[in-house]
């Protein structure tokens, strides 16, 4: 155990000397995919609740497909599937994009978490107290102002507990990145295991690192809930 830590502490935490690895890589994957997913989810959640079926149904299909299939399959489609298409290989910018494991991973993660987040936000918007909307209408807010000032802020606050859950699950999902040769914590642990044949300690150390990140995230979200949901506190 000690020799694994001595030999691998640097790649496990931030770099193997060439690129970003380990905890830094995992956090980078998590932050970027959650950011893109969040930006996708807010407009899509509004569209998901639209009255017009031509707006609502495409979003429903996106959520249905991406929450109904495993992330690993989505990653395989994007990483090995799309790159095998000849049109992708012969278009230079597509070729450059899909050849990089990290690009494919980020794309798959962002689309996946975007779908789950859309579901969460759309649910929160549907469950909004009708009085809030009625009051805003009575004041004379137009549709856009109503969304910007009332519906989106209020539903995002109420979605916070579920959203924190989704972020933790996304952290757990980032482990799949190592199948696309992205050097995250699990990839380093896997290398350590192949070099030392000590699976319990190699993966155990990785597990401890992931648990530390999980607990930090849980703690941060608790504080955020305490602050943003103060009006629900009793």
């Amino acid at each position: 155990m000690i020799d694994i830590i001595q030999q691998y502490w640097r790649p496990l935490l931030y770099t193997d000397g060439y690129t970003m690895t380990g905890v830094a890589m995992t956090l980078w994957l998590l932050v970027i995919s959650c950011l893109i997913g969040f930006c996708l989810a807010v407009p899509l959640a509004v569209a998901r609740n639209a009255r017009n079926p031509f707006i609502r149904l495409p979003v429903w299909t996106y959520v249905f497909v991406f929450t109904g299939t495993p992330l690993y399959v989505q990653l395989l489609i994007i990483y090995t599937g799309i790159y095998s298409l000849s049109i992708v290989q012969h278009t230079s910018f597509l070729n450059a994009f899909f050849r990089q494991g990290i690009d494919c991973t980020l794309l798959a993660f962002a689309l996946n978490t975007g779908a789950y987040t859309t579901q969460i936000f759309a649910g929160a918007m549907r469950d909004m107290a009708f009085g809030e909307i009625e009051a805003a209408r009575a004041i004379g807010m137009s549709g856009f102002t109503l969304y910007r000032r009332i519906i989106i802020p209020s539903s995002l606050r109420r979605a916070l507990p579920l959203y924190s859950n989704e972020v933790i699950l996304m952290l757990h999902s980032t482990t799949l990145a190592f199948t696309a040769t992205v050097p995250d914590i699990l990839k380093v642990a896997n290398d350590a295991n192949s070099a030392t044949y000590e699976p319990f300690w190699s993966f155990g150390i990785a597990g401890v690192l992931y648990a530390c990140i999980s607990f930090t995230l849980i703690f941060t979200f608790r504080r955020a809930e305490h602050r943003f949901l103060a009006f629900l506190r009793r």
């Binding site: 497909v65 299939t69 090995t80 599937g81 482990t175 642990a189």
Partner: protein
Amino acid sequence: MFNLGGYGPIILSGTLTTIELSILSLIVSFLIGLLGASAKLSRSRIAVGIATVYTTIIRAVPDLVLMLLLFYSLQIWLNDLTDALGLDQFNLDPFTSGVITLGFIYGAYFTETFRGAFMSVPRGQMEAARSFGMRRFYAFRRILFPQMMRYALPGLANNWQVILKATALVSIIGLSDIIKATQDAGKATFNTFFFSVLAAVVYLVLTTASNGVLMLLQKRYSVGVRRAAS
């Protein structure tokens, strides 16, 4: 379009492996969940402590890390055990380790689901059953369990969907499931895209079908609940 390049049977058997794996893991994690929930609600401090440590650790560490950890370590521990007992080496196949690890991991999630559900059943129900002279296990089977299931079903449905999707990970430890079958077929026929999408479609069908079954179960266990007409 439906010419699977002769890979049809392999993909079909891969699909069956995936279904078997998820159902067996569901059963194992269901039982562990019941055990864990009773431990968490018991009076014994040690049982509560062990169950709390178990659920906290499992839910904080990613399932793939736990799966690799257990898959590689289980075999080593088993070898040590058979060496110590002077027995022949006993090899764990990926399927068995898949069931054990998935069951062990999702047992923690089931523990939390069942704990919440047990606590939702009014105390008086169990007290009434006991005062009728029912034995503990009998009262559990006839009174507590059926009512608890009604509260547990939404969480259970969610866990089942997660387990079904988590079986995709078991191909990483070498099980020939639907993913492995479609990837092999894709590599051999140079049509990875089509076969990967096929795997996704199979999963989509499985999750949609199980959603239907769960809705029927929900109906069955909600018999006797009056709902305000909306």
